[in-house]
Subunit: 375 residues, 2 copies
């Protein structure tokens, strides 16, 4: 955990949705539980319901019964106490007067602890600094999640290739191909590979000009289709995240030029990324390249067009984690996505995304999937 | 929203994982954004990346550009400001000196707002009191999620019935049937029905004695198998949650008695639930019935056995929401699960779960799926 033994650390959160908690415990739970690191000893407090599973799977030093603590607080009262009173009781028993908590620590718990004058410090930067630099083991697990992502992409390409243009529509398995149908094919393939994918983007035409639009309705021949796939490994909790943009049928000159420009922008980033480089400089260089090629980033009729999102984000136990590529000087062993895009209603959207680990001399691309415009 | 117009309400959270935020906006987002309700007007602050999608889908009165606010804070600095400084800037611009926030409001934001002497009050009980009483529309949406759940259960039964005992193993599609394989079949069926299911429980034998164990490895003939399925409707965000316990092959006398006892316990609850009844009394009545039938709840060799979890929990935009059945006096229009269980290593586990809405005279069961022990 890379921390001095002296620092007391406290998290109260569900690990299913809190990367710091899953990182600390390797234990999955959908409801909040308590993690305390004190004098180098790592303790979690679990209900009876979670205790057996916790003891088998959590990577901590000590297990404490929530039910026991709860009944101590409850005493002779008929009513079970609120959760935060049990948290406070546990910290009193452990003599905690000062602890470092994550920035997302719930105000409800903080107010209860304030009554006991527990001094909560907020971590400067990352709660677990080691999360910023991926270990070899973590790189392997991110690789596992990327293999699941590629399984999804592969399935998407299979279905698109097997679909037949009929007028403007694409027909597949006797039905018009829709975003929903293709998403289900992708997500099913990922599921069978051991991941889960909740919001896979399959967005064609102008829908893709909203980078977070999942896509709905008919997919069309000769039209740009963005496939942005970001599954989570159901076993380890690490995320994959990759995007390809394709045309089923024939790409127009304008579509081809847009696609090639985004690809060139991504290649610029992949050349520049290395330990010590300013991410914002890379982001601006991509925007400048795009502008030079005739693709400015601006507002047209109240709508953002061009390249109006970040170049990339950290990836690990959270899908969006530290660092945002364009907000830092990059450091060795950071894992980030590299995903420039261009979006112009009427023409459509293109985004191409891979995942890299920053190294001293450059970066290593962890994702593996061909880039091909026309299918 | 059932609130007085005078109260200022503030949420800063991602709606994908925060039920209060999704309830307030009907807008899905994986990253935190700002929601402010002031003088009855509901405003959200979105980045350029989310703005187009937000304007199309969010049910609010006003949209404010995060990027604009951010550049006002940034001024001539080269570095974009931290998120919480933008939150504080927005509240200053709106003249907010006092706001009600949810108990899970992040301490990091609260500390920043404290510098401006913004007085944050925490909601007593539910942040949106109306979430406690489901509208007819919400009951319909919960019904939709339950139909997805039933689709998963139906697929599970099909696969189990089609599997053939070979010695102790179950063979299906030429392979030994495992928890992983059956889970993938269930989750795939749900996915195609428009839901996503992340942690479906398919747990046989002693694995099922840990109620939150997902299950892994071989499934066996003549052995109790718990199927606990809780998908989320990908469109509306409402959850379904149902459990059935089955034996593929022949149930022993002991298995049958355990199963029948749990079923009787559930029926007891379904008879007793109505507006004004104390949930804890129902919970205790089930435990008493179980004990009378020879199934005490206790600790044996350091392991919890019997009925050691709650009888039920609220269900809606969160999978576990207010109220815990056993912690309240039930009220009309609350939607809760009813899911007693019994767990004895060596014999196995049984849990049977349905979803009900509390009414004045009793309750209405919203989930529909036969209960059958042997397949």
């Amino acid at each position: 955990m890379n921390n001095t033994n002296g620092e007391t650390k406290l998290i109260v959160a569900p690990s299913d949705t809190d990367g710091d908690m899953l990182y600390a415990t390797k234990f999955w739970a959908g409801d909040p539980f308590i993690f305390l690191q004190q004098n180098g000893k790592r303790t979690i407090v679990l209900t009876d319901l979670e205790m057996g599973r916790g003891k088998r799977t959590a990577k901590v030093d000590e297990f404490v019964s929530f039910n026991q603590l709860e009944s101590e607080v409850q005493g002779n009262s008929k009513q079970a106490p609120p959760f935060e009173k049990v948290v406070a009781h546990f910290l009193r028993k452990r003599g905690v007067k000062r602890a470092t908590v994550p920035a997302n620590f719930a105000l409800g718990y903080a107010r209860e602890l304030a009554k006991d004058n527990v001094d909560l410090e907020m971590a400067e930067g990352l709660f677990w600094p080691s999360r910023g630099a991926k270990t070899d083991e973590e790189l392997k697990l991110i690789g596992r999640a990327l293999r699941m992502t590629e399984t999804g992409l592969k399935r998407a390409m299979e279905v698109l290739k097997a679909s037949k243009p009929k007028g403007k529509k694409l027909m597949w398995s006797g039905k018009p191909l829709t975003s929903e149908l293709l998403r289900a094919e992708i997500d099913t393939a990922i599921l069978r590979a051991g991941g889960f994918a909740a919001n896979t983007i399959v967005a064609g035409g102008d829908q893709a000009c909203d980078p977070h639009e999942r896509g709905h309705g008919l997919l069309y021949a000769n039209s740009l289709i963005i496939l942005d796939i970001f599954p989570r490994d159901a076993k380890t909790g690490y995320w994959g995240d990759m995007t390809r943009t394709v045309v089923r049928g024939k790409a127009s000159e304008a579509q081809r030029k847009l696609w090639q420009t985004v690809k060139d922008g991504q290649e610029l980033a992949l050349r520049e990324i290395k330990d010590g480089v300013d991410g914002m400089a890379i982001h601006k260089a991509i925007q400048a390249l795009f502008k030079k090629r005739g693709y400015p980033t601006e507002v047209r009729n109240g709508v953002n067009v061009g390249f109006f999102h970040g170049t990339g984000h950290g990836l690990g136990l959270d899908i969006h984690e530290y660092p945002r590529l364009q907000k830092v000087v990059l450091k060795e062993r950071q894992v980030v996505t590299v995903e420039p895009g261009l979006y112009y209603p009427g023409l459509g959207g293109v985004r191409i995304e891979d995942v890299v680990v920053v190294t001293k001399p450059g970066c290593k691309i962890l994702s593996k999937f061909p880039k091909q415009l026309e299918l």
